[in-house]
């Protein structure tokens, strides 16, 4: 499997480590009134879609960037790859 790295081009999947659902970028605010419930969701509850799934991959044996990869869990087809920091900044995080 190849992952088309946004800056480095196609690189072998063996250079990457899977880091889970991309929703992990959205860490809840610890001072919210329902912070406990939000953190239980954040820590334990995951969607398990049969189809397109946004997930985090870490380029451990490469430039050590974190990526958000959109992968079809049925076919393994990868339709989109972005730097996680670009995604986070677009969502107003990582200021």
């Amino acid at each position: 499997m190849l992952i088309n790295h946004p800056t480095l081009g196609p690189r072998d999947a063996s250079e990457f480590v899977y880091k889970g659902d991309a929703a992990l970028i959205r860490r809840p605010a610890p001072d919210a009134p329902d912070a406990l419930e939000q953190f239980i969701d954040y820590g334990y509850l995951r969607d398990n879609p049969a189809g397109a799934h946004r997930e985090l991959w870490f380029h451990e044996q490469g430039d050590r960037s974190w990526l958000v990869v959109t992968r079809d869990t049925l076919t393994h087809e990868i339709t989109d790859v972005e730097l996680a920091r670009d995604v986070a900044r677009r969502e107003g995080r990582s200021k």
């Binding site: 800056t7 072998d12 063996s14 044996q61 430039d63 050590r64 730097l83 920091r85």
Partner: protein, 186 residues
């Protein structure tokens, strides 16, 4: 002061040189390394610092640049600076003096070992060890990839001269892997 004896990454007092077929494998110990990483919001200043240090544009992804003092790209807004240790033993401090808080500077000299492959047929050797498309290298590439499960940098000075920079604590394993691949390929 105690009389200390400097040793190379392979544990000898002199750098090791091996030749087999058309390829020479040389342990390189006369380079100083320091990494620079932009602090948040200071990406442009860091690129400008690298540019002023090497006297050439800061290298883009998977590239290197410069002549005497050189830099290669490590990751987004991160570079490794490479200079002769004779004149730049305190490379990190020299850079830190110019960084003005915009950049994190880390001395990397003692963290890495470097082996230079020179001669013909280097792609035949490296294709046995890495995923990197070394056959397409023309000069100026600087790729971080795995060599025998070790995270290494491959620096292509020219297709007949490629440096492998790997973790110093695994110098023996890396040297063994390179030598075995050279003997296999040639």
């Amino acid at each position: 002061m105690p009389d200390l004896i400097a040793i190379t990454p392979l544990g000898a007092t002199r750098p090791r040189i091996d030749s087999h077929g058309p390829v020479t494998l040389t342990e390189v110990t006369d380079r100083a390394l320091a990494s620079v990483a932009a602090r948040l919001g200071h990406e442009a200043q860091t690129a400008a610092l690298v540019t002023s240090l090497i006297g050439a544009p800061a290298p883009g992804p998977a590239r290197m640049g410069g002549t005497d003092l050189t830099a290669f790209w490590m990751g987004p807004d991160q570079w490794m600076l490479d200079a002769p240790i004779e004149t730049h033993e305190d490379l990190a401090h020299q850079i830190l003096a110019q960084a003005k808080g915009a950049t994190s500077v880390t001395d990397q000299t003692g963290a890495w070992c470097r082996f230079d492959l020179s001669g013909d047929g280097l792609a035949d050797v490296l294709e046995r060890l890495t995923n990197a498309n070394t056959r397409a290298f023309t000069g100026g590439e600087a790729q971080r990839t795995a060599v025998e499960h070790m995270g290494c940098f491959l620096l292509c000075h020219s297709p007949r001269h490629i440096s492998v920079i790997g973790p110093r604590s695994s110098a023996g394993s890396l040297h063994h892997a390179l030598l075995t691949a050279i003997r296999s390929a040639h």
